[in-house]
């Protein structure tokens, strides 16, 4: 039986604002299926975002939803989670939102290991404002603010997350929507801070400028240019020049709210 998305979508809120060929809808559907797989209660789930194309996603889905300021979603989400740890908290963010203006919040959420799942809709560009380079725009690529090629170097979301202390780190693509669902579901199930780098496409403001073809061409590029982590580990030669996808880290590590609950238990009786 086909999956019933309607049970999780708010009536009357579609069509979405995303451009034709944008992969954000695919990632949104993966998130919905992951939430369904983990059987999260709608009433008990909060989806938080900042500003940008990806950050419009919470408006479409039927949960407690919080569309905040640029880059600050993780700060808001941390307050939600700390004040009511029983809530499931999911944050969605674009690459610019999560890693540039929100970069400080990103690394500290990783370090704190608070039980929040972050999905980065990583399309290598600021789409909503019309195609300026982001922290994940590859070196040399064209953007409206790098008309002669990007002199910056990109962040690797996976390495950054692992280095900053996130306890679950994975990467998937919008082409591999089914595996992406599993990676997100595992992140939700994981107790601690989870980062899923969801590679997606912006044919309108990034692909066109860099002659990457249509939205479909860009998705198909993922098919030919990614290799699973397990294969990459066993046969590194197969991963040469390709993007590795899969689970990079899944550590049992004390979760922040659990640690704070221990403090409350220890000192609470002294009130």
């Amino acid at each position: 039986m086909a999956f019933d998305y309607d049970q999780y979508l708010r009536p009357g809120k579609l069509p979405h604002i995303w451009c034709p060929g944008c992969a954000h809808g695919i990632v949104m559907k993966s998130i919905i299926r992951a939430i369904d797989r983990e059987e999260l209660e709608k009433d008990n789930t909060v989806i938080v975002s900042g500003i940008g194309c990806a950050s419009r996603m919470p408006g479409y889905v039927d949960f407690n939803t919080l569309h905040t300021t640029h880059g600050r979603a993780l700060g808001f989400a941390t307050g939600v989670k700390m004040a009511k740890p029983s809530l499931n908290v999911i944050v969605v963010a674009g690459d610019g939102d999560a890693l540039a203006i929100g970069g400080n919040h990103f690394i500290h959420a990783c370090r704190r290991n608070i039980d929040i799942t972050l999905i980065v809709f990583n399309n290598n560009i600021y789409g909503m404002t019309g195609g300026q380079f982001s922290p994940t725009t590859p070196h040399g690529k064209l953007a409206s603010t790098t008309p002669y090629g990007n002199p910056d170097y990109a962040f690797d979301v996976v390495e950054l997350s692992m280095g900053a202390g996130a306890s679950y780190v994975a990467r998937g693509t919008a082409y591999h929507a089914v595996p992406l669902t599993r990676l997100i579901a595992n992140g939700i199930a994981h107790r601690g801070f989870s980062v899923i780098d969801a590679l997606c496409t912006c044919p309108v403001t990034y692909g066109r400028r860099n002659k990457l073809g249509s939205g479909t061409d860009m998705l198909l590029w993922f098919k030919g240019n990614t290799v699973g982590k397990k294969i990459a580990d066993k046969q590194p030669e197969k991963a040469e020049g390709k993007i590795v996808t899969g689970v990079f880290k899944q550590d049992e590590k004390p979760e922040y709210c659990d640690e704070y609950a221990k403090i409350i238990e220890k000192v609470g009786s002294q009130a």
Partner: protein, 377 residues
């Protein structure tokens, strides 16, 4: 809990007042001269079933406070000038989404890093207009340790009743001085909670004003799933840019303050017989003023005194009435002239307005004010 007499700093009184008001969440970032609030609540909140978190920066602290409040937890953050500048973005978010929260700004010298350990009152206009766009503003300006406690409780009550952020504006002197004061017994001061919805979840519209201009607010996780956005929104909470929907909402945000002056405005007006001079002051400058007025009276000069406890909204009507009686209004403030502009605006030319200003990190002394009183009398 019965009443208790303590010897506290203003900052500690703020923290104690927050707990009395039912504060369950604090997020902050270390900054002089407000850090004692964070330290106090780091110790106390976990003992009282609340949560304390030190965030990675001031911006995140303000964000966390709003997030926590959305779950129903009364929330506080504390900071000083440079930190306040950083919080303003999310303060605007709390205004437009109507999320109750309290922000303490213990004023220090500025601009920029300025004088971290010196007092100032130079954030008067920032408290009113700091965040961008039209927005409502409430700023309370306690003048003693006891009053820091009671005004903190009032700040929480106003934030909850009106669903809006409330700024507590103290200064380094009020924050750091110690005074004996009484923590009232539980129940002695009335505590308010935000209005919560009574309709079934399927009928809930988060900005429905059919019952009044303060719409009921549902806690995240309570079964009312709603959308919160910093975009202009309609009564359902979803974004809109329809002009006929946007402006009424903008006006309603302001009306929450202007239509509730009876519970927001607070001042102390000490009128003397036959006085031709009046002083408008708040915070630590009001303490010096009180002393200067007593000295002036010894010398036979009567001076009226309007001490503000609520700075924003500014009590223009009170100042305007004062101007009918006196010839000169003196405005002592630890800045180069901010509140004086509001006073001038309020008197509409009916009285002369003159300032006593200081911006060197030292308090305005009673003698400075006395000198001005003599000069204009």
């Amino acid at each position: 809990m019965s009443e208790k007499v303590v010897f506290y700093q203003g900052n500690e009184a703020c923290a104690e007042g927050a707990l009395y008001a039912g504060c369950k969440f604090f997020a902050g970032y270390p900054i002089t001269p407000s850090t004692e609030v964070a330290e106090f609540l780091a110790r106390r909140l976990p003992k009282e079933g609340g949560a304390f978190i030190q965030m990675e920066d001031e911006i995140a602290a303000m964000a966390a406070v709003i997030g926590a409040s959305l779950t129903g937890a009364k929330s506080l953050t504390a900071t000083s000038g440079p930190g306040m500048s950083l919080k303003l973005e999310n303060l605007g978010f709390a205004c437009i989404t109507e999320v109750p929260c309290v922000i303490l700004n213990v004023m220090r010298g500025g601009p920029s890093t300025g004088l971290p350990t010196g007092p100032s009152q130079a954030d008067v206009m920032q408290a009113r207009w700091g965040t961008h766009g039209d927005h409502p503003a409430i700023a309370l300006v306690p003048g003693s340790v006891q009053e820091t406690f009671t005004e903190t409780v009032r700040a929480f009550n106003l934030a909850e009743r009106l669903r809006t952020p409330v700024i507590l504006l103290t200064d380094e002197i009020i924050g750091h001085m110690r005074e004996k004061f009484t923590i009232p017994a539980k129940g002695e001061i009335e505590i308010w909670d935000r209005p919560r919805p009574t309709v079934p979840p399927e009928e809930y519209k988060p900005y429905d004003t059919s019952e009044g201009i303060i719409p009921p607010m549902a806690d995240f996780g309570s079964g009312y799933r709603w959308h919160v956005t910093g975009l202009n929104h309609d009564e359902t909470g979803f974004p809109t840019n329809i002009p006929s929907l946007v402006e009424p909402e903008e006006r309603r945000l302001m009306a929450k303050v202007t239509e509730n002056l009876d519970i927001i405005e607070k001042y102390e007006y000490i009128e003397k017989k036959g006085s031709k001079v009046a002083i408008v002051a708040f915070g630590s400058s009001a303490r010096s003023t009180r002393s200067a007025i007593a000295k002036a009276a010894e010398g036979g000069i009567n001076v009226d005194f309007l001490r503000l406890v609520t700075l924003w909204p500014f009590p223009s009507h009170v100042v305007n009435e004062m101007a009918d009686k006196v010839d000169v209004i003196i405005v002592p403030e630890m800045n180069l002239g901010q509140m004086i502009e509001e006073v001038e605006r309020s008197v509409k030319g009916k009285a002369e307005v003159t300032g006593v200003n200081r911006a060197d990190g030292e308090p305005i002394t009673p003698d400075q004010i006395l000198e001005k009183i003599r000069e204009v009398s």
